[in-house]
Structures are given as C-alpha cells and as structure tokens.
C-alpha cells in the first residue's frame, strides 16, 4: 500500500546513515522534550507525588482509587464519552464537508471562505461570545429572544440545568471544530491532481458523490488520518470549553470531563501521581479510539 523508495540495503543502519543524519536534530529534541516527559509521567502514575517532596511508590494504588473510589472520575468518563461521541465524528465530518464544498469554488472565493471559517480559531477566546448568547439571565441574547417571542416565560438556566449545560458545550465545541484539521483538509484537496477528475468523467463518473467516493476520498487518506488524530485528541481531551463556559468544577459536575479531572488533581490539588494516572488512562483511551478510526478510514473508497 505504501509507496516507499527501495534503497539497496533497507536492513542496514550504515547504508542509511544519511537518513539518520537528517532526522537526528528532530529526534534528539523530540526525545528530550516529548518522550522523556511522557515516560516520567507514566512512572509517576505509580507513585504518590506532590511535586515538592520525592515521590513515594504506590504500585497500582492510584488506578485502584480511580476506578473504585472516585465517583467524580466515573462521572467524568460518562461526560467525556457523551461529548466525544458527538463532537468527534460530527466535528470531523463537518470539517471535511466544509473543506470539500470550499474546494469546488474558484481560487479567490476558496481563499475567502477558508479565511472566514478558520478565523474564529485564530483568536484564542473567540468562543466566549457564546457566553453572551447563552447567558442565563433574562437579558442574554437567546433568553431575551425567546422571552420576547413568548416561547418561554422564565429564562433558561443554561449554566445550571445539566441537559442545557451539556448541550451548550456541544454546540460551542462543534462551532470550534473547523480548526487545524479543516486547514489540512483544504490543503490536501489542493494537492489532488485535476486530470484525475477529467479521466474519471470519461470513465463514467456521473455525480458529485461518485467523484467524492472514487477519486477524492482515496486521495485524501493521509489528510483524513491526520484530521482523525486531531479529532480524537480534541474530543476525548475536551476540557477548556466546559471549564471556561460552565466553571471549574461545573455545578453538580454536570460537564466535568477527564481533562478537567486531570487539571483538578494536577494543578489545583497538586496530586501529580494521581493526575498522571488519569493521563495514562486517557492515553490508552485515545490509542484505542485511534485504532478503531484508522480501520474505518482504510475501508473508505474501496
């Protein structure tokens, strides 16, 4: 499946020393600032560590506590799944759909719409505008609108009612989903060779949808895998949006996610060993999700 260059000696280190030389700067920095911290964090997940004193080895105690003695953690798992199952796939498909639709336009319009859809991702806190939209007081945009229409007679408590809290988080997260994954889709669609479409038209491709399935999607697999990783880490790692909109911790833990729980123990309670155990759990969760999604992507276009 992969189109790799056949070197004379693919099993020898020495024959490929040029390649190692090219990768060396990246790999050294990657090992120092990524692999090493991850490995130490995995080690800390078996300890009790308050950052100030040396860690005390606990074995599997942190994990036992997580699954048997921490009702908020269970709540966080439920909430995270609830969010991820909707935000992950819908956000991913929305990113692809928008990139695909934009790609049909003339170059100038394409650049314009790419900028429009990506612009909210440039400003870090742009989603705070939803704070006004879903403000729970009667003057909040949405409440005022519904009150004027007479649809409701008392304002909706967007930040108190668990069902509304989760709905608002999902709406805002979906609105934010056209980020870097969307940009990589736009870029990926640009590299598809146009003559393939002409050849396809001659070969009897009749509709937009056939063209999408038989030409566009098979050419987009690398970008789809890239976007999938971003969607998985973004949706299972959701935390900033609920914390900013609903508070940390949220009322009744109604929008408490794994990432919120991790931050609670990591940066507020300074139980770094326990926080590391949560991180390891999220890590395993994402690896599983990724394996599943990659399997789906392989089927596409066949």
């Amino acid at each position: 499946m992969e189109d790799r260059i056949r070197s004379n000696n693919p099993r020898s280190f020495r024959a490929n020393k040029n390649l190692y030389f090219m990768m060396a700067p990246f790999l050294i920095i990657f090992f120092t600032f990524t692999i090493l911290p991850v490995l130490t964090s995995i080690f800390f997940s078996f300890t009790n560590w308050n950052v100030l004193q040396p860690p005390i080895f606990l074995g599997l105690e942190n994990y036992r506590r997580l699954f048997l003695d921490d009702p908020q953690f269970m709540q966080a798992i439920r909430n995270t799944f609830h969010f991820a199952v909707i935000i992950g796939p819908v956000g991913y498909l929305l990113s692809f759909l928008m990139a695909w639709v934009i790609n049909e336009l003339t170059p100038k319009l394409r650049a314009f719409f790419t900028i429009v859809f990506y612009a909210p991702s440039i400003g870090g806190g742009t989603f705070m505008v939803f704070g006004f939209l879903f403000s729970p007081d009667p003057h909040g945009w949405f409440n005022a609108f519904l009150l004027n229409l007479g649809v409701i007679d008392s304002p909706i408590l967007f930040n108190q009612d668990p069902v509304w809290m989760r709905t608002v988080v999902i709406i805002v997260s979906l609105w934010m989903s056209l980020g870097f994954g969307f940009l990589s889709f736009v870029a990926g669609l640009q590299t598809i060779d146009r003559t393939q479409y002409e050849a396809g038209a001659i070969d009897g491709i009749r509709s937009r949808w056939q063209e999408l399935w038989y030409i566009t999607l098979p050419n987009m697999k690398p970008q789809m895998m890239f976007g999938a990783i971003l969607s998985i880490t973004g949706s299972l790692g959701i935390g900033a949006v609920p914390a900013a909109l609903m508070g940390m911790p949220s009322p009744g833990y109604a929008t408490h996610t794994l990432d919120n729980h991790l931050n609670d123990f990591g940066s507020i309670r300074m139980e770094m060993g326990y926080a590391s155990a949560i991180a390891v759990f999220m890590f395993v969760l994402m690896i599983g999700a990724n394996a599943l999604v990659q399997k789906f992507i392989r089927i596409v276009g066949t």
Binding site: P10, T126, A187, Y214, L230
Partner: protein, 326 residues
C-alpha cells in the same frame, strides 16, 4: 518531469497525485462556456464539471453563506469592540456593532507603554524573534525528519512513526512538570531557548509533513537521484515544492501558536518576555482596563490573521501557476 505525465493514475488509485502538478498541462476540453450558468462559473475550481447540477451548486452556495455568517459573529465583535467607548463595552446585553466609534482605546495604550519597565519595542522584538526562529526551525527540522520517515525504508522507521502518533495522545498537563525539570536542567530557564528549542520537535507539524510527503511519487524522487541529487537536495528541490500546501498550512499553525507564547514558567527576565506577556499584564487588570483590553484583543487577533490571509492566498497562487487555471 515530462515523463511523469504519462503515468496518470486511474481514478480511485491509492497513491498520491502530487507529482503530476509539475508541468503537466491538463488537457484542454470543451467547457461549454456559453451554456454555463453564473453559478457554475463561480464553482469552477476542480476541472471537468459536467457532472454538476445547477440545483446542487445553488444549495452549496446557500449553505456556505449561512455557515459563514454564523462563523463571523465573534470576529465582527472583536473588531467592533476595539472601537467601542467604555459605556458601550459594559452594556448588558452587549451589542455586536459599535454605535459611536472612538479611537480612545488605542490612544490609552500610549501612556501605559510609556511607563513600562522595558520599552514596547523590546517586547515587539522578543515576539518577532521567537516567532520567526520558532517557525523557521519547526518547518526546517520537521521537513528534514518527515522526508525519510515518509519515503524510505530503514531500520526503525516504523517504530519512530508509531512513537510520533502515540506522542500526540499524551496530555500536556502532566508532562509540563517533567518538561520544566528538563528545561531547567539544560540551563534554558530565562533564555529564548526555553521557548524556541522544544518547538523545533513539535510532533503535530512533523506528522502533517510526513502524511503529505507520503503522497509524492517515489518515481519522481528516484529520477532526481539518478540525476545525482542526494537525499538532502532532493528534499528541498523536489519534495518541498510538491507539498507546498502542507508547509504553508504549517507556517500558519506554528505562527499562530508561537504568537500566543507568553514565556510562562520559563521567562522571568522582563527584557526577554514577548509582547503577549506584556499585553496579558495590562489586561490582567480586568474591568478597569476593559477599553485598552479590547484594543489589545484586536491587535493580537489581527497579526496572525494577516499572516494567515497572506499565506492562504499564496496557496491559491501556487495552484494557478502550476497549470490548474482555466
């Protein structure tokens, strides 16, 4: 490059198409210019469009416009807020559009920066230095590592590829402290290195480059090798031009993340802090500085936006100059 045009891939073929962009002119076809509606003339991006219906085109434009207006609200609000007088900023519920525009918020920035410990120009220099070096370094090192990982077979290639994907899935919140320990053990605290060097090996950028490079045909690379180019030269002369949309996307992304750097736990010397940190100190006063705060919000938003617009129109130009245009 001429021979590459002959092996036009079959529709649905798995391998990437990138190489055909060079010099391959698309066959001129009868586009039925006269009979095309204005809609299909706008929607002319991808070549032969005989399989497009007018109804479908119309729905697409409608869909795009509705979505665009939804996405633009916060952007419009950031721009308008910067020009609102104080009483309009504090009104509840807030208006999207400004009623009595003023430049007061920007003028108020002057006295504030006149009294800072370090002059404004120093903050600006720090920001530009960190952003420029960070972006260039990230793209340079990521491309150099991505190319062998995408296109060659050597001992360890699959292991490294797997490690890179895995590393994207570990929460940054718990690695922050081990990371800090490493940065300080290397003596990087209170130097630019602390915020620049780790960025050189950001895995997301490498992963993006690797995935795009995997689509460049090996035959193109091999023909460059026959001409006597080494791996390093082939990368910069053959592979990089083919994946231009990828590194332009990466420039946008890394500029944006470097522009957001505050130095946080790593930079304590005021003379080394970037603009973002200084502006963060000003807006930290909250309600008391809400006027200048909104002006700062606009400035911090506009810089990456301008870079984004320049880069994005560059992608379009590339495609025009490589024979894709009508």
């Amino acid at each position: 490059m001429a021979q590459t045009a002959q092996q036009a891939p079959k529709p649905g073929s798995m391998s990437g198409p990138t190489q055909l962009k060079f010099g391959a002119t698309p066959p001129k076809k009868d586009r039925h210019k006269g009979s095309r509606s204005w809609l299909s003339r706008i929607l002319g991006g991808t070549g032969a469009r005989s399989n497009r219906t007018v109804w479908g085109n119309f729905m697409m434009i409608l869909f795009l416009c509705v979505m665009a207006s939804l996405f633009l609200i916060p952007v419009v609000m950031i721009i308008n807020n910067a020009f609102k007088p104080l009483h309009e900023l504090l009104i509840i519920p807030p208006h999207i559009f400004v009623r009595n525009p003023t430049l007061r918020n920007f003028q108020d920035l002057g006295p504030i920066f006149a009294n800072t410990l370090v002059p404004f120009s120093r903050y600006l220099f720090n920001s530009l230095f960190i952003v420029a070096l960070g972006c260039i370094g990230q793209i340079f090192f990521a491309s150099m590592a991505a190319y062998p990982l995408a296109k060659y077979e050597f001992p360890g290639v699959h292991l490294i590829n797997r490690l890179i994907v895995l590393s994207l899935m570990f929460s940054g919140a718990v690695t922050a402290i081990p990371n800090f320990v490493i940065v300080s053990a290397l003596g990087f605290i209170d130097t630019y290195f602390a915020v620049i060097i780790p960025v050189f090996a950001q895995t997301l950028g490498l992963y993006l480059m690797r995935n795009f490079m995997g689509q460049v045909y090996s035959s193109v690379i091999e023909s460059a090798a026959i001409d006597g180019a080494g791996e390093f030269r082939t990368l910069w002369t053959v592979v990089m031009p083919a994946v231009k949309p990828a590194w332009i996307t990466l420039i946008i992304f890394s500029f944006q993340s470097m522009w957001g750097v505050t130095g946080g736990a790593f930079l304590y010397n005021e003379a080394l802090k970037p603009l973002n940190a200084a502006l963060g100190q000003i807006t930290a006063a909250g309600l008391a500085r809400i006027g200048v705060g909104s002006a700062i919000g606009l400035i911090m938003f506009m810089v990456p936006l301008v870079i984004f617009i320049i880069m994005q129109s560059n992608v379009v130009e590339t495609m025009n100059s490589s024979g894709m245009k009508d």
